[in-house]
Symmetry: C2
Subunit: 110 residues, 2 copies
Amino acid sequence: MKKNLKEIPVSDENCPVRKTLGLLGGKWTLLILFQINNRVIRYGDLKRAIPGISEKVLIQELNFLVKNKLVTKKSYNEIPPRVEYQLTKTGLNALPIADRLATFGLENVE
Amino acid sequence: MKKNLKEIPVSDENCPVRKTLGLLGGKWTLLILFQINNRVIRYGDLKRAIPGISEKVLIQELNFLVKNKLVTKKSYNEIPPRVEYQLTKTGLNALPIADRLATFGLENVE
DNA sequence: AATAATTCTGACCATAAGGTAAGTACTATA
DNA sequence: TATAGTACTTACCTTATGGTCAGAATTATT
């Protein structure tokens, strides 16, 4: 018979929850991934999709996500500039987290 | 036929992802909920389950979670003191988020 | 008599995260 | 000719968050 009460190991530095929080725990990080979702989206559209975020922070986060291979960036040599972002495989793997945040928010917040 | 590409609404202040992040977006919050899980756990055990967290922050977070009805607290009038914490229904609803964080961490981080 | 263990509290400080605002370079549009 | 739109960058400052450390009250243990 299966174990009903799973034992919860001590959450040291190797704890997967902790590691994920270290990577995606920023104020805006998961929201940005959620907004990109499975779209190919331009910087300006993304910015308008997240009212309140500053340009500095949005670009900062996008660079961070590109560096950590959650997002890819494609720049076209055009004037005016055009830059498109989309999730990598790893980035797509983070979407279920965002979906749970959404579900929880709908059912439990306020 | 069903919509394949779901439209993603602009994430203003009412966005459920944002609201959840506002509530559970602290550095330790989801890890604490994950550690409590479906246990009844004493403060000291919880503290030992999360190496690195300071007592001040742990208590601060627990008070916050009690205030927001994600956690209940039961104090016994004993010496030495005994205090037990456990998740409310709402707190239990947050566990799937932590589970996804764990899954993602196992499969995608490092 | 000293130490450890329990669950906190509070004062103080350091860091990092995020916000503001201005600027850049180029073009199309009015 | 002035304004708006594109995607940023940079300098500066504010705030929030979290960390350190000491102490408090009580008892059991050594």
